[in-house]
């Protein structure tokens, strides 16, 4: 980059940083309040919104309530099961399909790809209703199956991966076939590793979306043992007896953190993946 004048450049950079810091502060304001709330007793939460924390005891108490008034650990476990199994199955369905769309000229390929693109634009709430009725008649509500099944087809994953696979050199695939690789081996040993950033990007999207989803669990889950974390949030929050904000925020922190950690871990791959996928 052109950097002709060092001191002027420093000044520009400091200015830009200042602007970014301000925007970041505004964006992070709710998180700050969340953290502060968990450090205060119910009586202080509303009268002194940004007051200083009242000591460690209250933090422990709020987290304790978050884990004891509801089976928070169970919710987290449910969330983890749904998110990981779903991600695994989505990839298991999408990767071969994307590979086929990218490299195999089978009849109906264009139709399939057209449908995938069209499905990208279908809000999930539309097909949800018949799926709910079907699950209900099949007696499959209130189960991991019900939480996972409707999302097995991910047009987003297929689309992203197909764009990536298309760029994979045909020569390498042909060379591998000559070397005696089976199609599955080619897929698993050559193609999938080349798409790792894209898979990471999709994983972040999928995990975020399904960990945080409230709409679908609210409809299909009826027993507390099957509740996912956002549904668990509702146990703290309702208008009838008033809300326990300390425990709610403790629960919120516990709920929000795992996805953030995953994002932090996958972040570089995630951004690389986005860059690789058809955004040029």
């Amino acid at each position: 980059m052109s950097a002709p004048n060092a001191s002027r450049d420093m000044l520009r950079m400091a200015g830009a940083n200042a602007v970014l810091m301000v925007v970041a502060a505004i964006i992070l304001l709710p998180f700050a309040w969340m953290l502060l709330t968990v450090m205060r007793s119910p009586a202080e939460i509303f009268s002194d919104p940004f007051g200083l924390p009242q000591g460690f005891g209250i933090v422990v108490e709020n987290f304790h309530r978050a884990f004891t008034t509801v089976p928070m650990a169970r919710f987290l476990f449910n969330g983890a099961v749904v998110v990981t199994v779903l991600l695994f199955l989505q990839l298991a369905v999408s990767i071969p399909a994307a590979y086929a769309l990218a490299k195999f000229p089978f009849s109906g390929r264009n139709l399939l790809f057209g449908l995938v693109v069209a499905a990208l634009c279908v809000p999930i709430q539309v097909p949800m209703l018949p799926i709910y009725i079907a699950l209900a008649y099949a007696g499959a509500l209130d189960s991991y199956f019900a939480l996972i099944f409707p999302f097995l087809f991910s047009p987003f994953a297929i689309f992203m991966l197909r764009q990536q696979f298309k760029a994979f050199p045909n020569e390498i695939i042909q060379a591998a076939r000559l070397d005696g690789f089976s199609e599955i081996q080619i897929l698993l040993k050559l193609i999938v590793p080349s798409a790792r950033p894209v898979i990471a990007a999709f994983a972040v999207f999928s995990i975020t979306a399904h960990w945080n989803d409230l709409y679908w669990p609210l409809i299909v889950v009826s027993s507390q043992d099957m509740a996912t974390p956002p549904l668990g949030m509702l146990y703290f929050r309702d208008g009838d007896l008033g809300t326990d904000y300390g425990a709610l925020m403790a629960g919120a922190i516990v709920t929000v953190t795992p996805v953030m950690v995953i994002f932090l871990i996958a972040q570089r791959q995630f951004i690389k993946g986005l860059t690789m996928t058809g955004l040029k």
Binding site: T69, V70, L141
Partner: protein, 426 residues
């Protein structure tokens, strides 16, 4: 072969679970609304199972609200996923029974009640309580929780403007007190969030309190277009104009009251416990009865829920009745009241053995009790149109309160839309 397998599995299960071969415990699936009610449902079930080791209470995930719960029951009826015992919100009871009865999904509680001795029934449940669980004269449900709206006030704020809590017994008094508080500039005067409530409870309170009815007895005509409705809409507008009442929803109103920035808050008696915790002694607060516009004659809609038996299995039905007897009994009610602030639905709860002493020491908790005499059923619209009617009504109420339509015009359109939606086929 499959039989053999079943036999084996059953044997292993029994060995693993029961140890010595006892009679298999009956598991009841029980569902309630409002996740926060877990606070008293859990200890209630625990206490029950201690005395009834042969019955296991399994709570299904609570519905987010009475409305949501009602939807779940209706969906459950279609898909065959109903709990064994359900606590229905009062305003949905009518419609629930109307839907479930033809499908044979519900058993009238009266059948069980009839088998108990008359003296026992009389000692435990008042006529008025029982009436809350009746649909078309038949005892389908047994009231479990009950609440009526009461007035919460911030004593410190009242003192600072030289007002007395006695003044709060009439709307005029409330308005003038609230006016003084907001004029002092440190806090808002009052909140009566009739238009932003999750349901039409506070709105019905105004009508019933003025001696009116939402609809006639056989639900064929909307009847709140009379003086009761007129006084209700006029009052709502007056609260805004005269006291500068802020527009808050329920959560926000509680937050503001708890922070000491709101003089008077009218809401459910069930909130008394959390209110006390959230205020945490920062200021003194008190409760007083809902102001009676027409003394003696008016009523108040009863919030809360009533237990309904939905299982078709005879053994489960017997277990369910045992459980409901306990939950609506004095011990059960003691747990419920202390966990919330609800009014007890059992007559014996106020005996000194249970809550008598507690009530003496905590007068704020008794306000609602004083209102038992005027507790009326919370009217539910026919045909499942309740939520939709309320969604439309609250828009009009907002317009009235904000002065976008005159109270008279507003009332006319309320009556019109209610008639249209409540009486359309469905």
């Amino acid at each position: 072969m499959s039989k053999w397998m079943q036999f084996l599995a059953a044997g292993c299960l029994a060995a693993a679970v029961a140890g010595p071969a006892l009679a298999e415990p009956i598991t009841l699936n029980v569902q309630y609304s409002w996740p926060s009610h877990k606070r008293f449902h859990d200890p209630l079930a625990e206490a029950f199972m201690k005395t009834h080791p042969d019955i296991r209470i399994n709570y299904l995930a609570p519905a987010a609200s009475y409305t949501d719960g009602q939807q779940r029951m209706l969906r459950g009826a279609v898909t065959g996923n109903l709990p064994d015992v359900w606590y229905s919100g009062y305003s949905y009871l009518n419609e629930l029974i109307r839907t479930l009865e033809p499908r044979g999904e519900s058993v009238p509680i009266g059948d069980f009640l009839g088998k108990e001795s008359t003296d026992w029934v009389k000692a435990n449940y008042s006529e008025q309580t029982l009436r809350l669980g009746q649909v078309q004269g038949k005892q389908w449900a047994l009231p479990f929780t009950a609440s009526t709206p009461i007035v919460y006030y911030n004593k410190d704020l009242l003192d600072s403007v030289g007002a007395s809590a006695d003044a709060l017994s009439s709307w005029d008094g409330i308005v003038s007190t609230a006016k003084k508080i907001s004029a002092a500039g440190k806090a808002d005067g009052m909140s009566y969030a009739a238009n932003e409530w999750g349901d039409d409870w506070l709105w019905q309170a105004l009508i019933l309190n003025a001696g009116g009815h939402i609809m006639n007895a056989d639900s064929t005509k909307v009847t709140f277009g009379d003086d009761s409705g007129k006084s209700a809409v006029t009052l709502l507008r007056r609260l805004v104009v005269e006291t500068g009442m802020p527009f808050l929803d329920e959560d926000q109103a509680i937050q503001q009251f708890a922070s000491g920035k709101l003089g008077i808050f009218i809401g459910s008696t069930a909130e008394v416990r959390v209110m006390g915790q959230t205020i945490g002694g920062k200021f003194q607060f008190g409760t007083s009865p809902y102001p009676k516009a027409i003394k003696g004659e008016g009523g108040l809609p009863t919030g809360g829920s009533a237990a309904v038996v939905l299982t078709k299995d005879a053994a489960k039905q017997r277990a369910a009745w045992e459980f409901i007897k306990f939950a609506t009994g004095p011990e059960g009610q003691k747990i419920v009241v202390l966990g919330s602030g609800y009014m007890p639905t059992n007559l014996r709860t106020t005996e000194s053995e249970y809550l008598g002493t507690f009530y003496k020491e905590n007068p704020d908790w008794t306000t609602s009790l004083k209102q038992w005499p005027i507790a009326k059923p919370w009217f539910g619209y026919p045909g499942g149109s309740g939520p939709r009617i309320w969604d439309e009504q609250k828009v009009v109420l907002s317009k009235i309160m904000r002065g976008q339509v005159t109270p008279d015009e507003g009332l006319a359109s309320l009556v019109e839309l209610t008639s249209r939606l409540a009486l359309s086929k469905n």
